[in-house]
Amino acid sequence: MGRTLFEKLWDLHAIDDLGGGTGLLLIDRIMLHERTGSVALESLRDAGRSVMAPRQTFVTMDHIVDTLPGRGDRTIMPTGTQFITATRKAALEAGLTLFDIGDPGQGIVHVISPEQAIVLPGVTLVCPDSHTCTQGALGALAWGIGSTEAEHALATSTLRVRKPKTMRITVNGRLGTGVTAKDLALHLLGRFGAAGAVGHMLEYAGEAVRALDVEGRLTLCNMATELSAFSAIIAPDETVFAYLNGRAFAPKGADWDAAVASWAALHSDADAVFDVDHIVDAADVAPMVTWGNSPQHAVPLGETVPAYDPAGGRDTQATHERALAYMGLTAGQALEDLPIDAAFIGSCTNSRLSDLRRAAAILEGRKVAGHVKAICVPGSTRVKAEAEAEGLDRIFRDAGFEWREAGCSMCFFAGGESFGLRQRVITSTNRNFESRQGPETRSHLASPETVAASAIAGAIADPRKLSPIA
C-alpha cells in the first residue's frame, strides 16, 4: 500500500519508534519569537543546556514589539520590553540567527520563514506558535508546539511526537472570481467545525489548491490550527520550487538541483489511504465572514446570523447564545451592512504582498468611512519595503488607513494597543475569540478584500458589490 506525503516525511525523520504510537523525530528547523521563545531559551540556559543546532534555529521579534512608526525596544504593552531584551540576549548568547527590530529580515515568523526559504519542502520545522501549520504550504512538516517542547527541540534536535491520523481535503474545481484562499479556509471551518480535524494531519489537495499561488496556500494552511489539526501540508510542486529558488536560505548550485530532485517524490502515492477523506466543490465557496466567537461561526457574506440548530451537533445552545450576546447580534440579522468601528489588515493569515495588493486595488481612489479606525500592518519588513516600492503604502494612507511597521500587532490584545471596549472590527486575522483584539471586542474574520470594502462602506460589505468610483 502506498504512503501519504505525511507518512513519507514521518519515515524520513523517524529516529526511533518509542512505542505506543509515539516516535522520536529529527527536527530540521526551529523558529522562535519573543513571546514564547524567550521563556524556552531562558529555561534551557537555566538548566545548563545548550542549543544542538544553532545554525538551524531562527529568532524574530513579532508578537510584542510595537508596530508604530519609530518603534524601538519600548512597548505600549507594560513589561513588553522585558520579552524583547531577554530574547535578544538569549539568542545572541546561543549563537542563533536573530531578525531583530530594525533588521530587514524582521517580521511575523510565518511570513519571514517562507520569504527567506528557511522552510523548505520535506523539512521538519517547529515553533512555539500554533500557526506554524502555515508553513506546511511549502511541503514541509511544520507544526506548533509548547515552550517546553521547544526546549526539547532546542536541546536535542528531536521531538517525541504522538503520530496523528491522516485526513485529506480535496477541493475540486476552481474558486470563483473574488473568492480567496481565506474564504476557502473559513468555508472549511463552517463546514467541518473548529474540532473538525482534531487528531489528524491534514493534506490539502485538488485543482483549486494547486491553482493557488504560494501566498494563497500559506493563508489556507494557516487556519488548519483553527480546525484543531496537528498541522496541514500541500504537496510541493513547480509553483513552490520557483518561489523558493534564489531566496536567502535556499540551497544553491548543485545542492539546489539535488534538493529539487528529491522534492519531486514528496507527494502522496496514488494508492495511499487516508483515515478521513473529504471532497469539497470549489464552486460552493463564497466570500465569508464570521458572526460569533469561534472561527467555525463562519457564513457566506450574504447570509444572516444563524439561529441555534440542535441538529447541527456542534455548539451547545448555551454556547450559541453566549456568542450572540457577546457579539451583540440576534439570530436572523443580516451581516452585510452591519456597521463596524474598525478594520484591520495584517497577521500571519493575510499580510503578505499579494494580500496588500488585492486590498489596495479596492482602496485605490476611495476613502475609509469617517467613523472607522483602519490599520494595515505588513507581515514583514520586507513585505513593507516591497509594498512601498510599488506605492501601495500611499494608496492605503490616502484611503485613510494607518500604515505600520511589521509585526503581529492587533491580531491580539497584549495589553498595549486595542480597538477599545466592545468595538466591532472586521479583520483579516484568524481568531474571533472573546476579547482577542481588545476588551470585549467583537471581531469578524474575513478576507483582506472584504476588510477593505467594509472599511470604505463603514459596514460589513461584499467587495464584489462595490459601486464604481465616481
Binding site: 509515539t22 545554525r55 507594560p78 523548505l120 517525541r160 466567537n293 476579547s435
Partner: protein, 205 residues
Amino acid sequence: MTSQPFHSLTAHALPLVRDNIDTDAIIPSREMKSVSKKGLADGLFAGWRYTEVGGREPDPAFVMNRPEYRDATILIGGTNFGCGSSREHAAWALAEYGFRAIVAPSFNPIFRGNCVRNGIVPVELPAEAVAALAEAAERLEVVTVDLATQIVSLADGRNWAFAIEREAKEMLFEGLDAIELTFKRADQIAAFRARDRAARPWVYL
C-alpha cells in the same frame, strides 16, 4: 523540568462546560506579563473571573469564584478544550492554580501536550460522561481520576474508562523530564543526523 507524579486524585471538580474554551480565555495575552513560567495563576480565566479588564475584583457570577469550588483541582470542560494559541502559559496557569486533571470531550493537540508536560492529566471522555460528571460536580460530589487504571469514577460507583497513550501516561505517572529521557539516546541521534546529513546536505546550514 520534572513535574509532580500523578497516580490517583479524588477531589472536587469545577464544572466549566463551555465549548471551544481557547487559551486566550484560559490566560489572556495581557496577563502574560513576564518572561517566566510562574506568577500566572492570578491571570487564569481573567476575562471571566474578574469584573473588569486588568482588574482583580472577583466576579461572583463566575463559577470558579464560588467558595465551594475553592479547593477544586479537577476541571470539567467542553469540546475542543484549549484551542487557539499554543501558549504554554495556559497549562502553567492551570497547574499553578492547582488543577491536576481536566476532563473534556476533546482537546486541542498542542494544549494537550502542554498539559502532559506540566503534570496535568488530560482525560478525554464522551460528551454524555462529561455531562454526568459536570452534574455531579454541580452537586459538589467528589470525582476520582485514577491514572494507573485509566478510570474516572464517582462515589456512587458510576465510572468511565479513558484512553491515554503510553508515553504520556508514563511521563505523568513518573513525573519524568522528556529532555533527560531523550538525552539517553544522544549517540543514536548523532548517528542518525550524520547519515541524514550525507543524504540531505542542503538541510544543514
